[in-house]
């Protein structure tokens, strides 16, 4: 069984993102870029499944400019067997991304497509579900535990009510939540080894993807700030203030 893992290049989660003064976007110039953390968790899970002997090959794929090859190489250094770079210089929104991934799925016939539940830049949380819809296969989103047996997966999902367990037939789409695992650190010899692993580049235009109508971003702004409040000296004063506001 093959597992296809998608990787998005995003602003590193430690960077404090700022909106440009003219409201035309957010500052991405010169900031550190990384694999979307949820995708890293998805890749880690795929690697563990392979290490348990339940998959034969882990493929990482990314859509974007030549710079996404950095993140694909990191994925190879983590342990993926090969990488596919779908090249485009245009930003890709979820539906077009899902249609593109479907083309890769048709080509590779994976048993599992593993995605992060959302990218930490646009926070859309859509692509996995959309791919599952277009593929006509199950989706197990927000996964915190995955067990495979007999061509099925039992997936524990993080939902508002707690943990929901679903059983899905393979092939299926899964999306990772934060507590699925802790991704491994990449060691230097693995980085060297990753340079020799296959990385195939395909032009998005050559895949025959019908582009979806994109949402148009017209303005960016910083979030409204909460003003600082008042320091109180005692519990009695706090209770008094809350009573004044009619909260107690």
């Amino acid at each position: 069984m093959k597992i296809l893992v998608t990787i998005k290049r995003v602003v590193d989660y430690n960077v404090r993102v700022r909106v440009k003064p003219d409201g035309s976007g957010v500052e991405t110039e010169g900031v550190k870029m990384s694999i979307n953390p949820f995708d890293e968790i998805a890749l880690e899970e795929a690697l563990r499944i392979k290490e348990r002997g339940e998959a034969d090959e882990v493929i990482v794929a990314s859509i974007g400019g030549s710079e996404v090859q950095q993140q694909l190489r990191t994925g190879l250094a983590m342990g993926a067997d090969r990488a596919i770079h779908v090249e485009t210089d245009q930003p890709v929104q979820p539906l077009t991304a899902a249609r593109t991934l479907l083309k890769l799925v048709e080509k590779e016939a994976p048993g599992i497509v593993f995605l992060g539940k959302q990218a930490i830049d646009d926070d859309c949380n859509q692509t996995g579900q959309m791919l599952a819809a277009l593929w006509g296969r199950p989706q197990a989103t927000f996964a915190s535990r995955v067990e495979l047996a007999d061509g099925k997966a039992t997936v524990t999902r993080e939902v508002d009510a707690g943990l929901e367990v679903n059983e899905v037939d393979l092939p299926a789409v899964m999306t990772s939540d934060l507590r699925l695992n802790e991704p491994r650190f990449v060691k230097l010899p693995d980085i060297m080894k990753a340079k020799r692993k296959p990385l195939e580049t395909i032009a998005l235009a050559d895949l025959g993807v019908e582009p979806a109508a994109d949402l148009v971003a017209t303005a960016y702004e910083p979030p409204p700030r909460r003003g600082g409040g008042k320091m109180v000296e005692s519990v009695a004063e706090l209770v008094g203030e809350l009573k004044n506001k009619g909260l107690l």
């Binding site: 979820p94 579900q129 707690g162 679903n166 949402l215 008042k230 109180v232």
Partner: protein, 312 residues
């Protein structure tokens, strides 16, 4: 014609408060025709609650045993089959909404607007990106319905007083047979639901242990509040994950929020930005939580919290 379809969420007995907030969000569209669709095995009780929401014209009930637990793979094709009749298809940005609606959007052939926090006009919306560190205004192109999730923390629940008619609708799709509900664990508890509680008492890493969290539970019980926690407290294993408040947990908007022994990491603040009044109790006077709290009290939480409980 402009017409809104809202997908209602429920547990078989009660309508999820997210649905009333979604109706409120939809009211900003200035469209009168609002249908609310419910999928379930037995919908009598929730259909009555949905019909009472102000602004809902019709409640569509799709009753089938397949819907005893909501599965995106089963319900999304039903929504796609109804899409031609509507200009807007909305649901709450709950884990169910996030799971379900993109699947329907893909079948309809449109991108989704996730986490709508403000309605500008019928096709223009504000939504948070980069964990709430930026807000983007997006326009939905013509050529299909607006499909979007409503960020429930941004809208109050709509009131009652409506008298919608209930219309039974037959399922139009088949069970794909590849996805099965097994069970749901956790939740339970006797307090109010964290996502919709008016008052929330949250504890952080400073509680130090699972046993020490008893002071938080005790204060919450006294106040009729829900219990929450920071990611640090969850990661340390003091409380289960479903209590986590923040960007990676629940985003909430109670009237009154107590942050106790919580330093105020950005990821936590993202989850409480829309709270009415924030009270912070922390022994570190420099903790970032005090920068956004409405009332701050510096001191030992193990002295302050019991004293506060007694004073109420």
């Amino acid at each position: 014609m402009a017409k809104v379809l809202i997908i209602g969420e429920h547990d078989g007995q009660n309508l999820n408060p997210a649905t009333a907030k979604t109706v409120q969000g939809a009211s900003g569209l200035g469209i009168d025709a609002v249908d609310l669709v419910l999928f379930g095995a037995d919908l009598d009780a929730v259909a009555a609650q949905a019909g009472a929401l102000a602004g809902v014209q019709r409640v569509l009930t799709v009753t089938h045993d397949d819907f005893s637990h909501p599965l995106a793979a089963r319900i999304a094709p039903e929504i796609a089959a109804m899409a031609d009749d509507y200009s807007h298809i909305l649901t709450g940005s709950t884990t169910l909404g996030k799971d379900l609606l993109p699947r329907a959007a893909a079948l309809i052939g449109v991108n989704q607007v996730s986490d709508i926090m403000e309605v500008i006009d019928e096709r223009t919306f504000k939504r948070p990106i980069y964990a709430g560190n930026a807000i983007v205004t997006v326009q939905v192109p013509e050529g299909g319905p607006v499909v979007g999730t409503i960020r429930t923390a941004s809208f109050a629940a709509v009131g009652e007083g409506g008298s919608a008619e209930t219309v039974a609708v037959d399922p139009r799709a088949e069970d794909p047979g590849h996805t099965r509900f097994v069970r749901v664990e956790g939740g339970g508890g006797d307090g109010p639901d964290l996502a919709s509680a008016d008052v929330v008492v949250s504890g952080g890493r400073a509680l130090g242990s699972s046993d020490n969290f008893a002071v938080i539970y005790s204060l919450a019980r006294k106040m009729g509040a829900a219990v929450g926690a920071s990611r640090a407290a969850v990661d340390a294993g003091y409380v289960p994950n479903e209590l986590q408040v923040g960007q990676t947990g629940k985003i909430i908007a109670p009237d009154l929020y107590f942050a106790i022994g919580i330093s105020g990491a950005i990821q936590h603040l993202t989850g409480i930005k829309d709270a009415g009044t924030i009270v912070a109790i922390n022994k570190d006077a420099e903790a970032p939580i005090f920068e956004i709290a409405d009332f701050g009290l510096v001191g030992d939480l193990f002295e302050i919290v019991p004293e506060l409980e007694k004073a109420l």
